[in-house]
């Protein structure tokens, strides 16, 4: 599950300028929902956790499959400097 979450988080992180704030929202949202929909103790809770884990891993796999190993990291293209040679006609 953590690998799936890592893929999703890295994907979002790379597409949001590598800022901390989106990751903070993601992390807190995940924690909050785990309190709003807590797992029951016992076998049913364990099964539910396995299902949730499966959903997260599946989505992480889809992100990896769609975005590629670099997770669709936006490439920053450096501007090409223009040279002005002395005496050259413009």
């Amino acid at each position: 599950m953590f690998l799936g979450l890592s893929v999703i988080m890295a994907w979002i992180f790379l597409h949001t300028g590598q800022g901390v704030l989106p990751m903070l929202l993601f992390h807190s949202s995940f924690d909050t929902i785990s309190f709003v929909l807590p797992l029951d103790p016992g076998a049913h809770g364990s099964q539910a956790f396995a299902v949730i884990m499966g959903v997260i891993v599946a989505v992480g796999a889809v992100v990896l499959w769609r975005a590629g190993l670099d997770l669709g990291r936006p490439r920053s293209v450096a501007p090409v400097p223009t040279l002005s040679l002395p005496g050259a006609a413009s």
Binding site: H15, F30, D40, I56, L69
Partner: protein, 177 residues
């Protein structure tokens, strides 16, 4: 020495700073109810902010302007499309809820519903800030964690988005989740 082993230093700081209040909380919690509710809150906050303190300490020891400015840039970078913020906010909830609903439908239970717990979101934002600022903000200074010489096969190397971001695949990064 710190410059060469910055990753080790960062992780040592992070775990040392986090575990001290963490273990203190666990011991006090096992002994019985707290005298005041402020004590567990402060201890848990101190636990959460361990990575941030570790990052600041590591950067202070490194004294590298490049690292420090990069750390600051991670903190102040917030310009992204609203859609990405919406995704960051809603996707984890949607994934958990989808799994919970499927589980309830297919297995007949396993998940409770406590809507009042949503009120904990602001407190969780405050607590998690300590982890995210440390782990994500200090991504570069722990990049060597998964670094392997070019050409050598490694799951972490091959899956990492870049050298700089390879730390996202480290177990310690997962642990902060």
């Amino acid at each position: 020495m710190v410059s060469r082993h910055r990753v080790v230093v960062f992780y040592l700081f992070a775990y040392a700073i986090s575990w001290i209040p963490g273990f203190t909380y666990a011991i006090l919690n096992a002994q019985g109810p707290f005298a005041t509710p402020l004590v567990p809150v402060l201890l848990l906050l101190a636990t959460s902010y361990g990575p941030t303190l570790a990052a600041v300490l590591t950067l202070a020891l490194l004294r590298e302007l490049d690292e420090t400015s990069r750390f600051r840039r991670h903190l102040v970078t917030w310009r992204a499309g609203l859609g990405w913020y919406g995704l960051a906010l809603l996707l984890p909830a949607a994934l958990w809820a989808a799994g919970a609903l499927f589980s309830t439908g297919a297995l007949g239970g396993g998940v409770a519903f406590v809507p009042a717990a949503a009120a904990a979101f602001p407190a969780l934002l405050l607590a998690n800030a300590g982890e995210e600022i440390g782990w994500r903000g200090c991504a570069r200074c722990r990049r060597a964690w998964c670094s392997v010489p070019s050409g050598q096969g490694s799951i972490s190397r091959s899956m990492s988005p870049s050298w700089d971001d390879s730390s996202f695949w480290s177990p310690c990064s997962w642990a902060c989740l």
